[in-house]
């Protein structure tokens, strides 16, 4: 079991504010890792640093042994590290199927000229897109406009778009934010299925109980630093974690 993602000494400053400070953790092949912490802990910043949407002030991100720090986001996706978004970010005016097809577009190794002329690849992409839609249970609504879907379906579509590039690691940014309990359970089941199919996953969440039931390995952040790491049982009883969460009562309830 090899390391697919390694983060070491990661630091991000916004002006005088240190949002992420000397953060390090690693993800093994096939692992399902949770990154949690109260609001403002710096989780989303870490997420954006790893996926290339922000440049770190210092530190390093290695993906499959190669340094990807500071690469633009599209190159990081091309290497096999895909992401979803915290809010629903979709191609809202287009059909559900077309949304997934655009996610597949990366698998276009046929060269630009051939890609420009040929439509053979299009058939392969359509097959793959239909497989993905049945995987996330959206094939029944494939012709709907994406923005007309109910919230839970939109988030599932977000996962399907990210999976379309056939990533080795999938990073999910607050996948159950704003979901009702039923939608949350569906998303949890979907994440497990994706993981079981061989994709390593990093879930960034502040809903502690959701991550506890889902992940076998958890990294806890507060004030930009890692305060604990390990199995759910160990993390739950960790004093620093209890203080971090219970000290800010609203977050523990949320």
């Amino acid at each position: 079991m090899g390391r697919v993602l390694e983060i070491a000494g990661l630091r991000k400053e916004f002006g005088g504010l240190v949002a992420v400070d000397d953060l390090g953790f690693a993800v093994d092949e096939g692992q399902l890792v949770g990154l949690i912490g109260p609001n403002g802990a710096g989780k989303t910043t870490v997420f954006n640093l790893v996926t290339g949407h922000l440049r770190p002030t210092a530190g390093e991100v290695r993906f499959r042994g190669q340094r990807v720090t500071g690469l633009p986001p599209w190159e990081i996706v091309q290497r096999g590290l895909a992401r979803t978004f915290q809010s629903t970010v979709l191609f809202g005016e287009s059909s559900v199927l077309e949304n997934v097809l655009r996610g597949c577009a990366l698998r276009a190794p046929a060269g630009r000229v051939a890609g420009f002329l040929g439509s053979r690849r299009e058939e392969g992409m359509r097959t793959h897109a239909h497989e993905l839609l049945s995987f996330v249970e959206l094939e029944a609504v494939q012709d709907e406009r994406a923005r007309n879907l109910p919230y839970g379906h939109q988030r599932a579509l977000g996962v399907a778009i990210a999976l379309a590039s056939r990533p080795q690691v999938l990073m999910l940014d607050e996948p159950v934010a704003g979901m009702n309990p039923e939608e949350t359970q569906r998303m949890a089941a979907l994440i497990r299925r994706v993981n079981a199919a061989g994709t390593s996953i990093v879930v960034v969440e502040h809903d502690m109980s959701f991550v506890m039931q889902l992940c076998r390995h958890i990294v806890v952040m507060n004030h930009g630093r890692k305060i604990a790491e390990g199995a759910p049982e160990a993390v739950r009883t960790n004093e620093a974690v209890v203080v971090a969460y219970l000290g800010v009562d609203d977050d523990a309830v949320a």
Partner: protein, 343 residues
């Protein structure tokens, strides 16, 4: 533009055949209208069609350019001066005009396409003004306010000079048909999908592996290249160009053509050119009210057809094609049946 269905059982030729009928009718048009006024109008429509089509490519990536007339000017002046001053053959000068516009767009695009929404619009507006002032003041290259005079009509190898308005019509129509073919192919290619992705969400386009900046720069380059070609057509059609042919108001007109015709369809740009170009001419009988009527008509169109006339025509066109396809004999099935009957 309807997409050809793969599962149409050997009837895939119906859509191309329908286009062939449309194009054939367009080629027959000059023989039905002998009056110089109508021929002049048709020629201008075709030039505007090329221009609007170019802008359509830029709009497809979600950027609204107000500098389209400026890039038209680059193509027009390049083409005209190469012919008048250096005696370059028309086709080469025409192509170089398009290339000059495309190249300027690729260089400028790298900088200005970082702007989005109204900021890009305002910047391209001032870019158009800048190019306008440049054409007025850099007299060595542009002839200043007097412009470039004595531009000969287009002259093609084997065919010779296209002196009549009808001859020009056939040439301009060929250019428009080829340009439409190019744009249709571009929109159906993976790059077309990339343009749609960038227009709808740059953030998500980035996350699925597109480089939005590159997509926008290439689209801007191709779109402005078509504007340059349109400029070359325009220069050799009028025989005379001056700065006032390429003001910001012309850019507004090319945008209006896309809006009225339907910016989300490539055919919409051409339909828009067909409608917008003759409007001022047709309203000329009411000189005092010309501008008012023009504005009123545009307001009505935008209120009741926000997606343009192409959206109105798309459904009937598709239905007609489906009916034709159903009625058309599928070659394989049909010949088999006939062979059976004979036996």
């Amino acid at each position: 533009m309807p997409k050809p269905e793969r599962a149409s059982g050997g009837r895939g030729w119906v859509t191309p055949a329908a286009w062939a009928v449309v194009i054939g009718a367009a080629f027959a048009l000059p023989s039905l209208f002998a009056s110089a006024f109508w021929l002049y109008l048709f020629d201008v429509i075709l030039i505007n069609g090329v221009m609007a089509l170019g802008l359509n490519i830029i709009l497809k990536t979600g950027q609204v350019s107000m500098a389209h007339a400026g890039f038209m000017a680059i193509g027009a002046y390049t083409c005209a001066q190469l012919i008048v001053k250096l005696g370059v053959p028309f086709l080469a000068a025409f192509a170089l005009g398009g290339a000059a516009a495309a190249l300027s767009a690729l260089v400028l695009g790298r900088i200005i396409l970082r702007l989005r929404g109204v900021y890009f619009l305002l910047f391209t507006f001032s870019l158009n003004e800048f190019l306008f002032l440049l054409s007025k003041n850099v007299t060595v290259l542009t002839g200043g306010n007097t412009g470039v005079m004595g531009i000969p009509p287009p002259s093609l190898p084997l065919v010779g000079a296209l002196r009549s308005k009808a001859a020009f019509y056939y040439f301009a129509l060929t250019v428009l048909v080829l340009a439409s073919g190019l744009v249709a192919a571009l929109y159906r290619s993976p790059f077309g999908r990339a343009m749609d992705a960038v227009r709808e969400s740059e953030l998500l386009a980035t996350a699925v592996g597109y480089n939005p900046m590159r997509v926008k720069v290439v689209a801007f380059g191709v779109g402005c290249g078509l504007a340059g070609l349109g400029g070359g057509l325009f220069a050799s059609f009028l025989g005379y160009i001056a700065p006032f042919n390429f003001t910001f108001w012309e850019s507004v007109n090319f945008l209006l053509m896309n809006i009225v015709g339907g910016a989300s369809f490539p055919a919409g740009a051409v339909i828009g050119a067909v409608i917008i170009t003759p409007l001022p001419e047709l309203l000329r009988a009411y000189v005092v009210w010309q501008q008012v009527l023009y504005g009123f008509l545009l307001m009505l169109l935008m209120r009741f057809l926000p997606d343009g006339l192409a959206s109105l025509l798309a459904a009937p066109a598709r239905a007609l094609l489906a009916r034709l396809r159903a009625a058309a004999p599928a070659p394989g099935v049909d010949s088999g049946r006939r062979a059976g009957e004979k036996a």
